[in-house]
């Protein structure tokens, strides 16, 4: 009986501890993303530390590739607002994250926005998969893939930033 109690205590302690460990990925905010100039090929200092690191971005999903049953999405764009209004200009490249998930996530998770955690990749000057120079170089949006952190949903429920970041004039694409 004693040993059972000890085991119970240890497991619950570990259980409390793990979320703290997992919450480590720093958040990449849309504000931070603005620092990237879509025209230049350099990765700004403020974002260099995050290159190839695990980060979390909160936003809304624009699905690109759905799974067989239209339940899950694997490839999508992450944007800062639900794009509901037509009169808001479209997000500039540095306010878009192209996400490819390792495992598809449920589509209806997006109802109140999602927080995607993954490895950030900011293609540098030698980015090969983009060909049109003025769009690509200095890729402004971040690519995040791998896992989805579910516990963030509770945070989103109460604390989601509802302010729509309005792009500056020079950030506007057209």
């Amino acid at each position: 009986m004693r040993s059972l109690l000890t085991i119970l205590l240890i497991t619950s302690a570990l259980g409390l501890f793990t979320p703290i460990l997992a919450d480590d990925a720093p958040e990449l905010t849309w504000e931070m993303m603005k620092a990237l100039d879509s025209q230049s090929t350099e990765i700004p200092e403020s974002l260099q530390a995050l290159q190839n690191q695990e980060v979390t971005v909160k936003g809304f999903i624009v699905p690109l590739e759905l799974d067989e049953y239209i339940d899950m999405v694997r490839d999508f764009l992450l944007v800062s607002n639900p794009l509901a209004c037509i009169h808001v200009p479209p997000p500039p490249p540095n306010q878009i994250v192209y996400v490819q998930m390792e495992k598809a996530i449920p589509l209806d998770m997006d109802f109140r926005g999602v927080a995607v955690t993954g490895i950030l990749q900011i293609p540098g000057p030698d980015a090969t998969w983009e060909e049109v120079s003025f769009e690509m170089t200095g890729l402004s949006a971040k690519e995040a893939d791998i896992e989805f952190d579910d516990s963030m949903m509770d945070i989103l429920d109460g604390h989601y930033d509802t302010e729509i970041p309005s792009p500056n004039a020079e950030d506007a694409y057209f």
């Binding site: 759905l66 049953y69 999508f76 479209p90 049109v132 890729l139 694409y173 057209f174």
Partner: protein
């Protein structure tokens, strides 16, 4: 004789009731599973039909409409988009490839899709699978045809066969075009609307609708100025960068010269399905209710049989049956009835699927696979059998309790 045998004989002695119960559970489970199956199959059919296309452009209408007629050949385009606009869009720096498509004609009820050779390179389905030819090649002159797999099989067409196309999409042979087309390629099966489509070059369609059809002949070439279409139904676009999707979309939506719209296929598909969700839920609730009703029937019968078989259970008790064995007997009864009912339901659904499948496919333009069983259906079937087991719990527990109190005294 085992307990199982005893239960089977007991059920056999009440043939009519047992049969009715099995029937009611069978029907309700085939309804429940069948509706789920059609829904999943339809979803699958929708989502598999388009992949790897960043934008679809057409005349301004509803986004779901554009999706439906450009991908599923269902419904009609409100208007066409001019070739001038097509060329302008193709010239956008962000555009990697552009495939124009035109719909409107048919052949024996099957839709005709006029497009460019680029269609066969760029069109993707089912999570980025490309089209491939089972036989022959892609068209290289205006009056050549590439057939979808299903169509070729059903109408028994082979390479080299000649076809005539009808104007409009009605079934009859109203206004047959004079020009003769030759089959040069047959595509491999895709389980999408592609399988039931006749593909011709855009130039061929222009020739069909020219004032004087006989003006053009087999010596015409693709790219001939005279055969350039003046308008098309829609365009599929591939962009060089995903990040330009929104800006290109906005630019097309705001196009000053013509009322156009550009949709992101993934978004429109998700929107289509979310608008269906209420119907979907409603159907689901109805089928669940029907199943519950069937199980209430089962519960009723179990209770009533308990009453009638009191003496029988008392006899078994004195012969040495433990109350838990009486419990087991009633549970087995319920499981046997439910299990048989579900099997019957599955069989019924499969049979019905064979019959209804082709009709639904034609009406909705989808490819459904109603006669095969996926894991979802099996889980549902097991769940229903599980409910059967649970339903018997109360009567079986009652049998247990009564059994404990039985003795010689009740005989």
């Amino acid at each position: 004789m085992s307990l199982l045998n005893l239960v089977l004989k007991s059920l056999a002695s009440r043939k009519l009731i047992t049969a009715l119960l099995i029937l009611s559970i069978g029907l309700s489970s085939s309804l429940l599973i069948g509706v789920q199956k059609i829904k999943q199959s339809a979803k699958q059919s929708f989502s598999q039909s388009i992949s790897g296309t960043d934008l679809i452009v057409g005349a301004r209408s509803g986004d779901i409409q554009l999706l439906m007629y450009s991908v599923f050949r269902q419904g009609q385009a409100v208007a066409n988009m001019s070739w001038v606009s097509v060329e302008s869009i193709r010239d956008f720096p962000q555009v990697d490839w552009l495939v124009p498509i035109s719909l409107g004609d048919s052949h024996k009820g099957y839709p005709v899709l006029a497009t460019t050779r680029g269609y066969f390179d760029h069109y993707r389905y089912a999570q980025k699978k490309a089209l491939s030819l089972k036989q022959g090649r892609v068209f290289s002159s205006p009056f050549e045809i590439v057939l979808g797999a299903e169509l070729a099989k059903t109408l028994n067409y082979n390479l080299g066969d000649s076809l005539y196309l009808s104007h409009g999409v009605s079934h009859g042979h109203s206004h047959l075009h004079k020009s003769k087309f030759t089959v040069v390629g047959i595509l491999a099966s895709t389980a999408t609307p592609v399988d039931k489509t006749v593909h011709i070059p855009l130039e061929g369609m222009t020739a069909l609708h020219a004032e004087d059809e006989t003006e053009f002949c087999t010596h015409s070439k693709l790219g001939d100025q005279g055969l350039r279409p003046s308008s098309v139904t829609a365009c599929l676009l591939g962009l060089k960068s995903k990040f330009s999707i929104f800006s290109v979309q906005r630019r097309i939506n705001d196009w000053p010269d013509e009322a156009l719209m550009a949709i992101i296929p993934g978004v429109s598909l998700a929107r289509l399905w979310s608008s269906m969700r209420t119907i979907d839920s409603a159907f689901f609730i109805i089928t669940i209710l029907v199943t519950i009703i069937a199980f209430i029937g089962l519960l009723l019968v179990l209770f009533m049989s308990l009453q009638a078989r009191q003496r029988e259970l008392a006899i078994l008790r004195t012969l040495g049956a433990h109350p838990s064995q009486l419990f087991l007997m009633l549970s087995l009864e319920s499981l046997i009835i439910t299990g048989t009912g579900v099997l019957l339901g599955l069989g019924f659904m499969s049979g019905l699927g064979q019959v209804l499948g082709p009709i639904l496919e034609e009406r909705l333009g989808l490819i459904l696979s109603l006669s095969t069983f996926s894991s979802t259906e099996l889980y549902l079937a097991l769940a229903i059998i599980g409910v059967g087991g649970v339903t018997s719990l109360i009567p079986a527990a009652l049998a247990y309790r009564k059994g404990k109190g039985e003795g010689f005294i009740s005989l």
